[in-house]
Symmetry: C2
Subunit: 312 residues, 2 copies
DNA sequence: AGCGTCCACAGCCGATCGTTATCACACCAC
DNA sequence: GTGGTGTGATAACGATCGGCTGTGGACGCT
């Protein structure tokens, strides 16, 4: 199975070194495994003539089957996990940062009315996976994510709140005393960035769109909230964040303030469109009810009426 | 992949010890691997309550996917092998014993007329696999087999020759001087048998049908021609064989003679019905032409006109 | 009570799979 | 040419894996 993923990586990159990076292993390890796979099949899968790598005929024959195998395997893992969850009566909600706001407890309560014997487990997921464990082999049944989420076409998504974007600065920063800043004043600051794997979400929190081509300086790459605020505190850079998170992650050495001239961030509940388990549907309803319920501390709400995009 | 096969074996047997035997590993090894798979999936796949083994809900969810994965993997191996063979312009013919008779060289010649740049490779396969490498992950593209071949419904089969069955006896045997024996005289002899995995073919060469319930004594299990004749020579038992093989495998210490009262053995060319490669079709035509060609040393011939059964 | 069956556990060993360090070669810039 | 860069192969080594044998304990059956 692993070898098949390696094979796919090399077949897609046509470059051992880059494929190895993508699979998070060293290049010799990947070379060796490919060689082993070739020995197992008694066939050369790639022609490596010094400078270029191309698939051989047997390699081309393997390619679609390997994809199929990886797909079925991932699906099997998911199905097994779901079967276990159904037996244990547990739903797992992946979250990227403490984005629950008041929503999670409220949703929990409403869900408990309908399914008293079910439990909700909340799992923090690092920002390497912007779908918070929902995509691929992740173990989340639902996720609270920031839009835009990569691979959005394969997910059902419903916006549950919008919040203006703020900025976090080290306490000694030249702008730290201000009550508000315009984004144009931050253009030349070093920014903390999400990992590459976060794709469009990384661009979003760098506000690439609002820079209109003005280049961005990456001060550091961060993959969870703790890393982020430590990096801000030690002056590696500044970072945009949702207004709600500015309140939650308040800490000495870091100052947060509103930023003018940026579109608001959108928080969404996401799930797998092909996941028709009743408990999941009930939780979605419970959550959206909660989001549409009594107003909470200044959040602009979307709830059921928002511009939520139901995935395919 | 291996672990999936183990899982399938246990799921089908619902018994670790028997499953381990089926997979040709020790029972602790299989237990450990199942446990590892369970750890990987973070789920219990079987409920073992001391005396009985049953699938859990996650196990039931995995079962069909595991079958699918094994199926696609086997298919992928076959496809890769075929792609390599097409490039190398080689066809592999599996044979169980030297059953080629005059047929193989004749077929080779006719095939060479149509596909001069292709080569034919003949591969001897032990009798553990009565399809001579055609079924499962075997590497034969075609096979010369004795009927009945297990799993015949998944193969295309064409009878190319029928031969009376003879018996091989040690030189000192009480019947060794005879010109011919009746099968009824052999009923109480110890017989050499094919491995269990040969299924109906094992029964066929023990002539179970013609024994009409008379019990058979197994002198020894043999899985290739050399083993067989050595076992005969040292007196482990007697063995039935096709008339043609009696001539080919003549050796001091072993006597062969015709047996009356047995149906004749049928030699068949077999291939995979879903294998539509032109070279394979050409070889089938060449072989059947050769089998229908000039008569050779006393063999009853079937060729194209025989009662060949075209598989599904 | 004693035996057989069946699964789990422990201890051992060779093969596998990962690492880092280094080499060999092709290409490119100069 | 010459040296730098990028790429894949190779070497040496350590941790883990996957198999083995031997053993133990629970249960059913005589």
């Amino acid at each position: 199975m692993r070898d098949l993923r390696y094979f796919l990586a090399v077949a897609e990159e046509l470059n051992f070194t880059r494929a190895a990076e993508r699979m998070f292993v060293s290049q010799p390890a990947l070379s060796k495994q490919i060689r082993r796979l070739e020995e197992l099949l008694r066939v050369r899968l790639f022609d490596r003539d010094r400078r270029t790598v191309v698939l051989t005929a047997p390699g081309r024959a393997l390619l679609p089957r390997a994809r199929e195998l990886v797909r079925v395997w991932d699906e099997a893992r998911r199905a097994v996990g779901e079967a276990a969850a159904a037996e244990a009566a547990v739903l797992t909600v992946g979250v990227s940062s403490s984005v629950g706001r008041g929503l999670l407890p409220a949703a929990r309560a409403r869900f408990a009315e309908r399914r008293p014997h079910w439990r909700i487990r909340v799992r923090q997921v690092d920002w390497e996976d912007p779908t918070a464990g929902l995509a691929g082999g992740g173990e989340a049944d639902l996720a609270l994510v920031w839009l835009p989420v990569p691979g959005q076409e394969d997910l059902s998504v419903r916006v549950v709140a919008t919040e203006p974007r703020w900025v976090a600065l080290p306490a000694g920063h030249r702008l730290a005393g201000r009550a508000e800043v315009a984004f144009s004043e931050l253009l030349d600051e070093p920014f903390l960035a999400l990992p590459e794997s976060a794709g469009p979400l990384r661009d979003y929190w760098l506000a690439l769109e609002e820079r209109a081509g003005h280049p961005v300086r990456i001060g550091s790459v961060v993959s969870n909230a703790d890393e982020t605020f430590e990096a801000v505190e030690e002056g590696s850079g500044v970072v945009l964040l949702a207004a709600g998170n500015a309140a939650i992650y308040r800490r000495p050495g870091v100052v947060t303030l509103p930023v003018g001239g940026l579109s608001p961030s959108r928080l969404a509940l996401a799930w797998r469109p092909d996941d028709h388990r009743p408990a999941v549907r009930d939780f979605i309803d419970a959550f959206l009810d909660a989001a549409a319920g009594p107003a909470r501390d200044g959040l602009t709400q979307d709830g059921r009426t928002g511009d939520g995009q139901a995935g395919s």
